[in-house]
Symmetry: C2
Subunit: 448 residues, 2 copies
């Protein structure tokens, strides 16, 4: 796969250089949509537009559906006018709704008006749900069955409606008021006796609410090993279907965001190599500034203890080691708890249980590190100094683990993204606190 | 969902307290497998064993399949002897293979010998592939078709073999030598004319090699929006099928590991609340020690410049701010690049391209922060001191971004996990380097 891509990239580069469009078309036509997607991800935006326009109609649509939202919008805006409406009409309703979110309002409205009535009808409900809700990601192209149908009739109904549906492997069963009664797998329709009734073979439906948080709902679908789950409105009426592959992609995006926040930046909207240098700077500069300004706190703390520092300059030598250890301990706790929150393993109300676990974990880690610090620092700088380092390490590890564990829980409690109070933020907070502890311990033990 | 769980947990706690096993059985029997899974995840290991034994046979198996590997092994080892062989026989072959990996070799061999010949035959090929390869996760229970079959015959073949297969929605088509010719969706079999031939409707098969890295292969399946992909051996012969839901779960585990490494710990093998305090300590202590010992480098650097520090104690005030900023900048770059590597957006050979991007990004960020530092520090401590802080910030941001971007690439190049050279490791490295830069700039500008 990777070799195919490297070879293709080389040939494409040569053809682009000599502006040989016929050769380029030929090269692209021979490739899988997923290979072309990878290729486009690695090109600059000018070449990307050229290459995309050379794709055949079907290939262009197939590649479009595989791309990240950020690249979709760029390519879409670069399309020739006559192609815009056609591509828009052919997209799946959920992909179309996501594009509408990104387009300027005027353009989006014009495109929506240009849609065929059927496609507009499939897209409108999706756009009615809040942006982070699962309603935005559901498929509205599905086939539903009535419970009284025989399996034979149900199968011919599915045959008839097949072309309209995104999936026919999971078929929701509804009553007259569109309320979900259960689900049937296509497998059961095909395998069952054709005079049996749908209600006899249908399984209990696990459903998700359309207004539910997209990440939570998606994780439930992936964890439950189902191919698709019906999406219902507040009155339990069927409005869509969430498929496992859409759920997997929602989780992938959520991981992207968590990983970026954990590293003190915002997620890039498109692949790394196709993001401009300034785009990368934009994703990082705000967090870096916020953290640097918070770090001014450490300057003040040290300024407050400047006289002590002048008296015993040796104290300064251990500052990066101590703040670093506090930051690492806090980051460990924060990462574990943030992940547990994302996986639904702990909830906001578990905050005290988590705090108590982390205090114990921190105390054990701090005890181990503290003893090591006592011995090492004691050997080089004397036993009293060793005591200062040992006691400080014990105290800051206990504190940092507790703070690191609790902060993401608090974020969740106020409905913010737990990953915002992440590694770097907690590190900075722990830096200042650990310095205060350090100097308090030092003045006490050394009798300053 | 969450309310159901909270209510259930309360009732279960009450029934456990009064040891009312009949009430407990009743409570559990009324619940979905996924709710019971969540409940077990939140209980201590003694209560968990009690609850699990109260489940009916079918429910016990269903819940077992939903659990994390760490909890599976614990529950499995707690089963009554008469149940062990039965559960083992009923597991899917890929789940069984994972269990075999975790069990003591003697126990695993005995269990494998006790399997029915058919199940043993389905499990053995999985165990033949390396642990991190996709062969370990593939399903060996599938239905394959011959290209010359008519759709009608193919459908009755599927009907006949249905019970044996994990999925029948994607059907690999093979020639006499089991080489993959294409794939057919069940949908096409059902919808097509029954006298058409399989070879006329089958699509081109995208396949994965059984020895390929599990995460890479899984990401390809999720990204390509396919329900399942055939897995082949080195001679292109069909050996299994990788379904999208298995792929999604592989990615979830990989994210777990990346997130943990990013936060300087090892992933927990089971949910947070059901891991013991000592288990959490174990997942963190090694990394914390390694990082603390690396941080001794910063003590040495500062010790080397101790005379300078004694002369100008004010220099000490900025140490945490500077090391913190270097760490944050390095972490930003490392996180972005690690993620891009995991997503397949960049490859090891892009190292120079990445380095050059990160140098520019770092220089811009450093320029901005440096100007801010110059002004702020200049106002409080005088223009010369402001210059020291400004120049140092520029230099360390440039260096840290470059180091943070390149380290994960180097890890990948030597086939290590890029997430190992993660945030905390890079922070520690940047701490020491930024201190050296700081004192060099200071001695130069202040003429010490």
């Amino acid at each position: 796969m990777d070799e195919v891509l490297i070879g293709l990239q080389r040939e494409v580069a040569a053809a682009l250089k000599s502006r040989d469009l016929t050769a380029l078309s030929g090269l692209l036509a021979a490739q899988d949509a997923s290979v072309i997607m990878r290729l486009l991800e690695r090109e600059g935006s000018a070449d990307r537009a050229v290459l995309y326009r050379l794709l055949g109609r079907d290939a262009a649509l197939e590649v479009f559906e595989l791309l990240d939202p950020g690249m979709r919008i760029e390519l879409f805006q670069g399309l020739r006018d006559e192609d815009v409406a056609r591509v828009f009409e052919q997209l799946d309703p959920d992909d179309r709704a996501q594009l509408v979110d990104e387009l300027p309002a005027g353009v989006a409205q014009k495109l929506m008006r240009g849609l065929s009535p059927r496609e507009r009808e499939l897209t409108a409900p999706i756009l009615g749900y809040p942006r982070s809700s699962i309603g935005r990601y559901m498929s509205t192209e599905f086939v539903r069955l009535q419970p009284q149908l025989t399996l034979g009739d149900a199968l011919s109904h599915v045959r008839h409606r097949n072309a309209e549906a995104e999936t026919v492997y999971i078929l929701p069963v509804t009553d007259g008021a569109r309320r979900v009664q259960g689900v049937v797998e296509l497998r059961e329709l095909v395998m069952g006796r054709s005079d049996a009734r749908v209600e006899d073979v249908m399984g209990e439906a696990r459903v998700v609410q359309a207004t539910e948080d997209a990440e939570v709902a998606a994780r439930r679908v992936v964890d439950s090993r189902l191919l698709a789950v019906p999406v219902v409105d507040s009155e339990s009426r069927l409005v869509g279907l969430l498929t496992v592959d859409d759920a997997a992609r929602i989780l992938e995006d959520a991981e992207d965001e968590d990983a970026a926040r954990q590293g003190a930046s915002e997620p890039l909207r498109r692949p790394y190599l196709s993001t401009s240098v300034l785009g990368i700077v934009r994703s990082r500069v705000l967090w870096l500034l916020v953290l640097a300004i918070s770090a001014l706190l450490t300057v003040q703390v040290l300024g407050f203890f400047e006289a002590t520092l002048e008296e015993v300059v040796t104290l300064a030598l251990f500052v990066p080691l101590l703040t670093g250890t506090a930051g690492n301990t806090g980051a460990q706790a924060a990462t574990t708890v943030t992940r547990a929150l994302a996986m639904g393993e702990v909830a906001a109300r578990d905050v005290l249980r988590v705090a108590w676990r982390e205090v114990r974990v921190g105390a054990i880690l701090g005890g181990l590190l503290g003893m090591l610090g006592l011995v090492l620092a004691g050997l080089v700088f004397g036993i009293r100094f060793g005591l200062v380092i040992g006691i400080t390490l014990f105290a800051i590890c206990t504190l940092a683990a507790c703070v690191g564990g609790v902060m993401p829980m608090l974020a969740r409690a106020v409905r913010a993204d737990p990953a915002v109070f992440s590694t770097p933020f907690i590190s900075t907070f722990c830096d200042a606190t650990s310095l205060i502890l350090y100097f308090l311990v030092a003045t006490w033990v050394l009798g300053l």
